[in-house]
């Protein structure tokens, strides 16, 4: 077998067998999805509803009260603009609009009226529950002597509603790129140096560049394998969806992986022991994890922090992944992201190769 392939295979196989490290990368990513799934994906435990009351009558107030009385439903009466802004932000599940003339219709006079329910597409289980709850209350209201009131056909709001899982999947891809990319190469390569494995390889005729290239390639393959597993779990177990092109995910995933493998590689030129490599890797990965929009959108972060995280590659990886998967963005939307990651990858790997110490 060709030396490069054999060395790369050895690296990948060893990493797959290293269960402890897998727990901290793939395992934690899955755990985060489970936690967020339990927190937000729950089966109808709570429904948040904004109501736009265009009638301001006693009858509409009574109708709102009946909705309010349903267990697990939180109701706020809002202005039209306020309600639809909440829907856009995902802070409510649906908006219900009560038409003017509601009281007249309820009294059996004037035109029959329909209340209109606006839901974003996306999480189908929640959509169905909201539908059922509102239809039930409306039917009950009409049944008690208000025959002309009915629920209009469900209307999808013009918002691409993303579920927590849809948001978490690209985030966790970013998490794996960050943690696996940095840790596997940083710690793995330093350990090979400390245990004289690198020295042993160098006692064979294999070229030094081949040894290093195989480590970098092996590191990238481990990350990509974990991403494949995560995406499959995310889609088939957690019901996350990709609104964009799978093909377009390849450039940010590859470049992001190369950038972080490069940063891990760079750590090996500084760290003398595997403990030092671990500590340095933690110093790089943990702040980045919280500062780069993988758990929550960066818009919530202070200005200064945003500037810092704009320099580091994870924010760009996270942006590109979310753009593609959540917003269905095209390549033009992620070109800058990809260029920044490519610059990091080339810079880090070049510098690390130049500074590499064999012992």
């Amino acid at each position: 077998m060709n030396s490069f392939r054999a060395l790369t295979l050895n690296r990948v196989r060893a990493s797959v067998r290293d269960r402890t490290s897998l727990i901290f990368t793939l395992g934690l990513a899955v755990l985060f999805m489970v936690i967020f799934g339990l927190l937000f994906g729950g089966n109808g435990a709570s429904i948040a509803l904004d109501i736009v009351d265009n009638d301001h009558s006693q009858a509409s107030a009574a109708y709102v009260q009946q909705l309010r009385d349903v267990n697990g439903v939180t109701v706020h009466v809002k202005s039209h603009a306020g309600a639809f802004s909440d829907l856009k932000d995902d802070s409510v599940n649906a908006v219900l609009v009560i038409p003017g003339g509601f009281a007249l219709a309820a009294a059996g006079q004037g035109q029959p009226q329909q209340v209109a329910l606006y839901q974003a597409g996306g999480d189908t289980s929640t959509t169905a529950i909201v539908d059922a709850v509102v239809a039930n209350v409306t039917a009950g209201f009409a049944g008690r002597g208000h025959p002309s009131i009915s629920l209009g056909a469900p209307q999808a709001a013009a918002v691409n509603q993303i579920t927590e899982m849809d948001y978490m999947l690209p985030s966790m891809i970013g998490y794996i790129i960050l943690f696996s990319g940095v840790n596997y190469v940083a710690i793995g390569l330093v350990e090979m140096r400390v245990k004289q494995v690198l020295r042993r390889f160098r006692a064979t005729p294999v070229r030094p560049g081949t040894i290093l290239a195989a480590q970098v390639a092996g590191g990238m393959l481990i990350v990509l394998l974990q991403i494949c597993v995560l995406v499959l779990l995310g889609m088939f177990v957690f019901g996350a969806k990709n609104y964009g092109s799978w093909l377009l995910l390849i450039p940010p995933v590859l470049l992001g992986t190369a950038a972080f493998v490069g940063i891990g590689f760079l750590i090996t030129s500084i760290a003398k022991t595997s403990e030092a490599a671990r500590a340095l890797a933690a110093m790089v990965t943990f702040p980045l994890m919280f500062l780069s929009g993988i758990f929550f959108p960066m818009t919530g972060l202070p200005e200064v922090v945003q500037v810092i995280s704009r320099i580091l590659p994870l924010a760009w990886a996270s942006d590109a992944l979310h753009q593609v998967m959540n917003n269905g963005a095209g390549f033009s939307a992620i070109t800058t992201d990809c260029l920044v990651m490519a610059a990091w990858a080339v810079g880090a790997i070049t510098l690390a190769t130049w500074r590499f110490r064999w012992d």
Binding site: M1, N2, S3, R5, A6, L7, N10, R11, R13, A14, S15, R17, D18, E191, M192, K195, Q196, V197, R199, R200, F201, R202, A203, T204, P205, V206, R207
Partner: protein, 330 residues
């Protein structure tokens, strides 16, 4: 396949040419000179030992010859090729076992052999090596689950994977139990029987005495003696050594005045070298001697204060002691 090799340094000498030719080797680490002007030659098919305590410069010398380190001065020719100029050519034809295990994690025995096989142009079949080194049963075990002896057999197998003419073994039996050590000795004797040249480092005397045709005694970066074990013992360990536990009041000066004493070394214990052991023993065990009387406050059991007495004939240990004034395992 025949490849164009760089012109061997000693072309024309034919079989007279040494497998290894080292001249004036110097390696410094900051203020420390680890190897200080070492020169020697290793002939074809000989087992050449490098004997010395830890830090003597054995491993550094070995690693320079293997092409793993660059010397600050000196020349190294291995199998007729200048190592410093063509390390890859040399590496294709030598086998190396490092002092450390130096195997990647989470790798099985068979996988390790296949991995190293892929690093050479020509490699022996994995099954053949597994059989030869009695590792067939362990072929699918992870390398970190091997016993010390199995691990050494594996690392030696890896050193022979390219069927090299010249094999370097760095402390092949350090840390092994006596039986495993004996087993490795048999393995090394097998390598020699196939006409391969072996260079090994050790700090075990019995090992050097049993395996090596010639031994270089190394201390503080210098070769202090180089000869066959028998000649070294005859030359530098002439006579008998009497060893005993240190006795208060019996210092080296007093001992040196005993007739027949050639040399006295006091470290962990007292070693007295002599060619007339009867006279010296008589003097040492004389009940009238000052050191035979218990000191004031002693518990009184002190008849003959000399304890743990051992009398033995010369070994390489004595050679080292005689050449450096220190024992090997300090």
């Amino acid at each position: 396949m025949i490849r164009a090799e760089p012109m061997p340094a000693g072309v024309g000498l034919g079989e007279e040419m040494a497998d290894i030719d080292v001249t004036g080797l110097v390696k410094r680490y900051g203020a420390l000179t680890a190897v200080d002007g070492v020169s020697f030659a290793v002939e074809k098919s000989e087992v050449f030992g490098m004997l010395g305590p830890n830090g003597a410069g054995k491993t550094t010398t070995l690693e320079i010859i293997e092409g793993l380190r660059r010397p600050d001065a000196g020349t190294v020719s291995v199998l007729g090729t200048d190592v410093l100029a063509h390390p890859e050519t040399v590496k294709e034809r030598i086998g190396v076992q490092l002092q450390a295990t130096a195997l990647p994690d989470f790798t099985k025995v068979r996988e390790a052999i296949e991995l190293f096989a892929s690093l050479y142009r020509h490699a022996r079949p994995t099954a053949e090596l597994l059989a030869e080194f009695n590792l067939e049963e362990k072929a699918d075990a992870y390398t970190d689950k091997l016993s010390g002896g199995q691990m050494q057999r594996l690392t030696i197998a890896l050193a022979l994977i390219n069927d090299p003419d010249l094999v370097f073994l760095d402390e092949p039996t350090t840390g092994l139990d006596p039986q495993a050590r004996l087993n490795i000795w048999t393995v090394i004797e097998g390598i020699r029987k196939r006409g391969k040249t072996v260079v090994l480092t050790t700090h075990y005397m019995e090992e050097a005495e049993r395996l090596c045709d010639r031994v270089a005694v190394i201390d503080r970066g210098h070769i202090v003696a180089l000869d066959s074990p028998r000649h070294l013992i005859a030359q530098h360990a002439a006579g008998t050594t009497v060893e005993f536990a240190r006795v208060p009041g019996l210092d080296a000066e007093i001992l040196r005045r005993i007739p027949g004493v050639d040399r006295v070394v006091v470290d962990g214990q007292v070693s007295v070298t002599t060619r007339t052991p009867e006279t010296v023993l008589h003097a040492l065990l004389d009940p009238q001697a000052p050191w035979a009387r218990p000191a004031a406050g002693d518990d009184g059991e002190g008849e003959g204060m000399i304890r743990d007495l051992v009398v033995r004939h010369g070994t390489l240990e004595d050679v080292f002691l005689s050449l450096t004034g220190r024992s090997l395992r300090e």
